[in-house]
Symmetry: C2
Subunit: 303 residues, 2 copies
Amino acid sequence: MSIEITVLGCGSASPTSYRNHTSQVVQVQERYFLIDCGEGAQIQLRKNKIRMQKIHAVFISHLHGDHYFGLPGLLSTFNLLGREKELAVYAPADLLNILKSIFNASNTYLCYKLNFHPLNFKYPVLLFQDKRVEVHSFPLRHSIDTCGFLVKEKIKPRKINRKAVDSYEVPMYELNKIKDGADYVNEDGVIVENTKLTFDPEPSLSYAYCSDTMYCPALCDFIKNSNLLYHEATFAKDCEALAKKTKHSTSEQAALIAKKADVKMLMLGHYSSRYTDLQLLLDEARLVFENTILADDGLKINL
Amino acid sequence: MSIEITVLGCGSASPTSYRNHTSQVVQVQERYFLIDCGEGAQIQLRKNKIRMQKIHAVFISHLHGDHYFGLPGLLSTFNLLGREKELAVYAPADLLNILKSIFNASNTYLCYKLNFHPLNFKYPVLLFQDKRVEVHSFPLRHSIDTCGFLVKEKIKPRKINRKAVDSYEVPMYELNKIKDGADYVNEDGVIVENTKLTFDPEPSLSYAYCSDTMYCPALCDFIKNSNLLYHEATFAKDCEALAKKTKHSTSEQAALIAKKADVKMLMLGHYSSRYTDLQLLLDEARLVFENTILADDGLKINL
């Protein structure tokens, strides 16, 4: 199992001809999550050969247009393609009325069920879970209500020690319980401890997404030890005052968060359109946190 | 003087990775009009090196998303760029509430004045005029209220016959009146007819934009003799029943309109995503109206 992130766009509010607005696909096995959906996301999905209909749920961090103006178009395209599967949308409450007014104006009735879940901006919330994966929201600090998201594999099943289960003659039908951590009790009532029958599971992966936010050390609690942190880095260090004023971050501040939260890797993004060359942002982050990379439209990362 | 059309997108509702949603820039001297504004139009403006801030007015034909989902983003970008110039938006009335709900949700106050003009879907209306150009709307027949637009140069000033004005000793300050068609009366009260002093003006150009519409011969009255007609051609002839059902046109029907309206040239567009190769659409149109071309993203036409 793995988590795969595809960056559909990594620009900030003012788009350039070479950077799309913010949007990412996070794939965990058969689950495809779309996180933010800037204008043009549906075309980016096509360019990146991700089948739109596979998207199971959409998470919108906040209602600045560069993070959701692609959503009405995507929802309309789902409709044209005859989507039948339900779609969950986790977003600020106001989005529901915006979508209603848009679809009313065009006499559009969606042919699929859209389950809208308003976000909470005060506390972290478990938004979604199935057998394999959880998605949590947590509050960020920006000029309007904004959430970050944490996509996290559940604790994986323990790995069967083939030799041991053979020697203790464990029947096949017991194996699932044993993978879940149960001891084995044989026909004579003898207890074989789980640790004798299994190895530790693969570590569970997690991906934290933080855009947009000002420098906010409090968010480290929510993203601690993540395998990958995406953190906005709208500005370089010389624009720190502007970052503070607009409630964005510098790349150095993103790196400070990565370091404090003890994550494995940091990905920068949401670059101001003033930067055509991003080396300065990368260099300033790496001085604080070495394992830093730059998001780029079309970049795929497999954790 | 001339009219220049830049096609920003020529796809229909379901976008492809190589065709953007409908949007065009029509330039008449220093006036830049944006007609429709599908998702991604602002990036297309950048790619086509058209300075956004030059756009004087926006005309939205109808409220299907592929014709306006790029507008909230464009208006937001004008704001980020500190636009001061007023912007006129001619669009179906419902758009105003949609924009208000979008900007309310993000606490956005536009730094420029947006003058919103609701369209009339019953009669042709002169929407805009200045010294050089007029823009008219006229009703189309589609599944929701939809307008076409006619961009038309005003009758141009007559051309001065240099030799004649010299020989009649016409003073300089009379020339503007003479360009406008006045006769010249000299100091002795002798009348010199205008036709002796001038040549006929250059013919006035016009551009008609019809998207989306079913086959509707009644619209020929509004677009008669245009130099260029853009007419939607969502389908080929074998999908005529589908065109009728969805209130779109085939390329042959677009050509029939071009022929009846006696226009000089026809440009097809708004192609269904089922067509990667558009030759069939072009061939079927040319059987009816020879001077037909295909719209393409990035195509520029100077009339």
